[in-house]
């Protein structure tokens, strides 16, 4: 067996991975690692190479070059062992829709090598865990999309995988269903290492401890979400709602050296909403408050927002475009 020399603490180890399809580069020489027990988000816009990376890790297709290891096992050379360790839910969650929920899960459990007794036991546990015990006898085709998603998740969990790989688990769900699926994934933290791909940044912020940001086949960043926020966008935006003459307001904001950029939008009730992005270390709030008093402006809101992953992402992709 190869690869036993590697660090046992690492669940996923991707090194210089490249995948080309007929001349197109889907992922270009990417490297990242995931430690045991972490929940890591693979982020990026559509077409960034998230699904390709995930499919290589799940042993669905090989890489053009580079290595990917799961728990120290090469996904190409020790494919069978790796597949036994993984619970994988592909994008769009394909299921045998003509089967009944329990029947399907039992089939999958047996296919993954569980004994008859163990399969029965695990199926009951994962159905409970995913909240689908009440639909166990229903035909999958008749279920709502949220339930189908949970059936897919139950399938991924049925063999007690050490690594759970979920490709866009909340795509196409309504907000309530999204919340249920997210909570479900969060409840799995600690028991499994989870790699989850998504293009919804707020989702990654809610679920993951760490993010790997992919863009056009390259890794732009790979760090904990707090670090990403702190290093890349230390200052969040400040939101101000004020009733003031718009020209005067613009003039005032332009004079402030600490203001990097701002957007103004007038409300119907005479208030103006300004979203101000300040330079690191500059807090506009006190200064603005005092100015408002002297100029007799009415303030309705004056608050600072935390930088979101969205800001981080925009900043990263912009810098990568500029450097090209």
């Amino acid at each position: 067996m190869t690869g036993n020399t590697c660090n046992q603490e690492l669940m996923i180890e991707v090194r210089n991975l490249t995948k080309r399809y007929a001349g197109n580069v889907a992922i270009n020489n990417i490297s990242f690692a995931v430690k045991r027990g972490e929940i890591v988000g693979l982020l990026g816009p559509n077409g960034a190479g998230k699904s390709t990376t995930i499919r290589i890790l799940a042993c669905y297709m090989p890489a053009t070059s580079g290595t990917a290891k799961v728990a120290g096992l090469d996904v190409f050379q020790n494919s069978m062992e790796v597949r036994r360790l993984i619970g994988y839910m592909p994008e769009n969650n394909p299921l045998y829709t003509e089967m009944r929920v329990k029947e399907y899960l039992k089939f999958r459990a047996r296919l993954k090598g569980l004994s008859m007794r163990k399969a029965r036991e695990r199926v009951d546990i994962v159905m409970e865990q995913c909240g689908i015990s009440n639909v166990s006898k229903k035909v999958i085709a008749h279920l709502s999309k949220g339930y189908k998603q949970r059936v897919g998740l139950a399938d991924a969990l049925v063999n007690e995988p050490s690594l759970l790989i979920l490709d866009e688990p909340t795509i196409g769900l309504d907000p309530n269903q999204i919340r249920t699926v997210r909570n479900l994934i969060k409840s799995l933290a600690g028991k499994h290492t989870i790699l989850i791909s998504t293009h919804i940044l707020s989702e990654a912020e809610l679920i993951c401890n760490r993010a790997v940001i992919l863009y056009e086949g390259n890794v732009l960043a790979c760090d904990s979400i707090d670090n990403l926020r702190a290093n890349l966008c230390p200052e969040g935006r400040t939101v101000i709602e004020v009733s003031a003459p718009i020209d005067e307001l613009k003039e005032y904001l332009d004079t402030l050296a600490g203001v990097e950029q701002y957007d103004l939008s007038a409300n119907d009730d005479g208030f103006i909403t300004c979203s101000v992005l300040c330079n690191p270390g500059f807090d506009i709030r006190l200064q603005f408050f005092e100015t408002a008093i002297t100029r007799r402006w009415k303030i309705r809101q004056l608050s600072k927002e935390r930088a979101t992953l969205e800001d981080v992402f925009v900043k990263l992709t912009l810098t990568s475009k500029e450097s090209e």
């Binding site: 297709m61 036994r84 994988y88 592909p90 003509e98 089939f107 047996r110 296919l111 090598g113």
Partner: protein, 254 residues
């Protein structure tokens, strides 16, 4: 080894189950039963009008009914095997489970062959009741029945392997069905030319008679088990399955 058998059995039973939950499975079954029934009523008419020398089972396979069922039902049974799974994406969950491509292929092939044999089981009842009603005057003996079913099984298995191949090269089940039908029909038609070619080119004639199913079937039906026929069907079946396996495996290194 235990895992291997478990995965194979689990997959085969799911595949067989999926044949029975679809309308298509029942349409194939019903249509085949209709044709077998039509053939029996034709045979009964024949028996009533003239004295027969041949055993009834042979008479059955001397008509075009058998070939009609073979050529039409096999593409219908095999078209979904891989094509639909690829189109729906379930193939991805299937091959990322810890099962080998060979297990998947053998399970799908076996389920198709079993389903095909199920189509033919009423034939046993038919022949038995036929025999009884006519007071065994048609001299159907057990050897002939065994030979008949061996022939049905071997030819059926070869057509199933062709169907597996056709289904593995496309994502569309319709394309898979058409490919399997065309290939199967051509193979059948080549055999029917053997009589007209017998005098012209000798080596070609012998090749064609070797692969001529219409010439093999009477032997099986009489209970004559010719090892040449068995070798021919087994080797072609294994060949088509092997090519299918390589096509399936290619997705893992492409």
């Amino acid at each position: 080894m235990k895992n291997w058998i478990q995965a194979f059995l689990v997959l085969t039973s799911r595949e067989l189950g999926s044949q029975f939950v679809s309308l298509r499975g029942y349409v194939v079954l019903a249509a085949s039963q209709f044709i077998i029934g039509a053939c029996f009523s034709y045979l009964i008419e024949q028996v009533n009008t003239e004295q027969l020398e041949l055993p009834a089972s042979e008479l059955f396979f001397a008509t075009w009914y058998y070939w009609l069922i073979l050529l039409l039902s096999t593409p219908m049974i095999t078209m979904r095997l891989f094509a639909t799974e690829k189109a729906l994406g379930t193939y991805e969950t299937l091959i990322t489970a810890p099962v080998s491509d060979l297990e998947i292929l053998l399970a799908k092939f076996s389920s198709a062959v079993i389903f095909y044999l199920i189509i033919w089981t009423p034939l046993i009842i038919g022949l038995a009741s036929f025999n009884r009603l006519t007071g065994n005057s048609l001299n159907i003996h057990p050897g002939a029945i065994i030979g008949t079913f061996l022939g049905v099984l071997l030819i059926g298995a070869m057509y199933m392997s062709i169907g597996c191949l056709a289904s593995s090269v496309t994502k569309s089940q319709n394309v898979a069905a058409i490919l399997a039908f065309v290939f199967g029909t051509v193979l059948f038609l080549i055999g029917t030319y053997s009589s007209s070619l017998a005098t012209s080119v000798s080596w070609l004639a012998s090749v064609i008679s070797y692969i001529s199913m219409v010439q093999h079937m009477p032997d099986f039906v009489r209970g004559v088990i010719d090892s040449r026929h068995i070798v021919f069907y087994l080797s072609t079946t294994i060949f088509f399955l092997f090519v299918t396996l390589k096509i399936l495996e290619s997705s893992r290194w492409r």
